[in-house]
């Protein structure tokens, strides 16, 4: 039988997004949703722009002495160093490539956003960085999506949790303790309190910050990747990267995520172990860079 009063799904979705935004702004002391510093927005738009040039990226890097130092340090690290060391920002950008340079710029800005007191903020940052590196690594291993395009969605995959922590630190800590004590699944507890979970909130923020619709969709489904539609390949990789981050010691508590993503990728035990080892090495290098 046909529903005589069909509800337009896009209207329902729009209202739901509006409710999520209203809840987060209502809880926030500033009355605003979290936002990235200006340099990160510029780097995000350059990362997705076909017109990005070395000159434009160099200009952006040079707006911040700290960012320039980080880019030079990474370009001269074991992973990227060439025979002749990078001495200028331009040398460093050429060595790293435009996409990687933009990734570093965004990560440095994101680090500042998460630089708030407390163990939970620190573990969320380490987890975000580990998942970013693991996602990028898995794009290269699987080639399911463009190799090297996974760092930013990985970095932002749990931005909903960071928004909860920034807006409502008491409840974020209470939920973390309940999850660790086995009182319930994180998403269920978040929905009990907020009416939505961190993956839903994160997808909205990631889209606001400039990730494309497929990436935002993948973030929405990173704990339930087989339910994703357009963003399924990336959602599967994010889920697998989440598991790898926990396996190498950069989770955010004792409750582990599902293995849906790793199972769906079907990597051999050897490939998975090699991947985890490379992520661990890259994490050590990157975490020092953003310390």
């Amino acid at each position: 039988m046909t529903d005589p009063y069909p509800v337009d799904a896009s209207v329902t979705e729009r209202l739901r997004r509006q409710r999520i935004r209203q809840t987060l702004t209502h809880l926030s002391r500033t009355g605003e949703l979290p936002s990235l510093p200006g340099a990160a927005n510029a780097a995000l738009s350059l990362a997705s722009s076909p017109d990005a040039s070395i000159e434009r990226v160099c200009e952006l890097v040079e707006t911040d002495v700290g960012l320039a130092a980080r880019v030079l340090r990474l370009a001269n690290s074991a992973a990227y160093a060439r025979r002749a060391p990078a001495r200028t920002v331009r040398d460093a950008v050429v060595a790293l490539g435009l996409r990687k340079t933009c990734d570093v710029l965004v990560a440095a800005c994101f680090r500042r956003l998460v630089a708030i007191p407390g163990d939970l903020a620190e573990s969320l940052w380490s987890h975000a960085l580990a998942v970013a590196i693991a996602t990028d690594e898995l794009t290269r291993v699987t080639k399911a999506i463009t190799p090297g395009s996974g760092f930013l969605p990985g970095l932002f995959h749990d931005v909903g949790r960071i928004a909860f922590l920034l807006a409502d630190p008491t409840s974020a800590d209470v939920i973390q303790r309940l999850v660790d004590s086995g009182a319930g699944a994180r998403a269920d507890l978040e929905r009990e309190w907020y009416g939505f979970d961190h993956a839903e909130a994160g997808a909205i923020l990631a889209a606001d910050w400039g990730l494309d619709a497929t990436q935002a969709e993948a973030i929405r489904w990173h704990h339930d990747p087989l339910n994703a539609e357009g963003g399924r390949p990336l959602a599967v990789i994010l889920s697998a990267a989440d598991s790898i981050a926990y396996a190498i010691g950069y989770g955010t508590g004792v409750a582990r995520p599902t293995m849906d993503g790793l199972d769906a990728l079907g990597l051999s035990t050897e490939v998975e172990a090699d991947c985890a080892t490379r992520v661990q090495h890259a994490f050590a290098e990157h975490s020092e860079l953003f310390a």
Binding site: R19, T23, H26, L27, R29, D168, T170, S171, D173, V174, I175, R177, L178, A183, G184, L189, E192, W193, Y194, G195
Partner: protein
């Protein structure tokens, strides 16, 4: 020591309320339904109850003098059924879930006074469960 009962079906709501109550240095009890809330009101000298709207409505139907004597902060949602009855004399304030710390302090502080940043009694000694 003042005693506050939190009555809500949700584990996380009870835990968040109790975490905020730690700053007030009071004894926190919890209930998950109307029957447990009524038992808490009968068995303890309560200074305040923080009660989910449907639990409060169910407790009200059971009409118990011990429950009726305690001031209530009503926890509501955006669901129309959770709207408070304006003629209910027990309700001293409402808090819409999820609430922020300053809204909690405005509602609770009116009954319990200013929160203490350093509660004198360790958390484990303050809490109890009615059920």
């Amino acid at each position: 020591m003042r005693t506050v009962l939190t009555a809500d079906r949700s584990t996380v709501v009870r835990a968040v309320v109790e975490r905020h109550l730690e700053r007030y240095g009071c004894r926190a009890l919890e209930a998950t339904n109307a029957e447990e809330a009524l038992a808490g009101a009968r068995d303890h000298q309560l200074d305040l109850m923080v009660v989910d709207a449907p639990v409060h409505a169910a407790a009200g139907r059971l009409s118990d003098p011990a429950y009726d004597a305690v001031p209530v902060i009503l926890l509501t949602t955006d669901h129309p059924a959770s709207e408070p009855d304006p003629d209910d004399p027990r309700i001293v304030a409402t808090l819409r879930k999820p609430f922020d710390e300053s809204s909690f302090d405005r509602a609770v502080g009116a009954i319990l006074g200013e929160p203490s940043r350093n509660p004198a009694v360790p958390r484990a000694a303050q809490q109890g469960v009615v059920r």
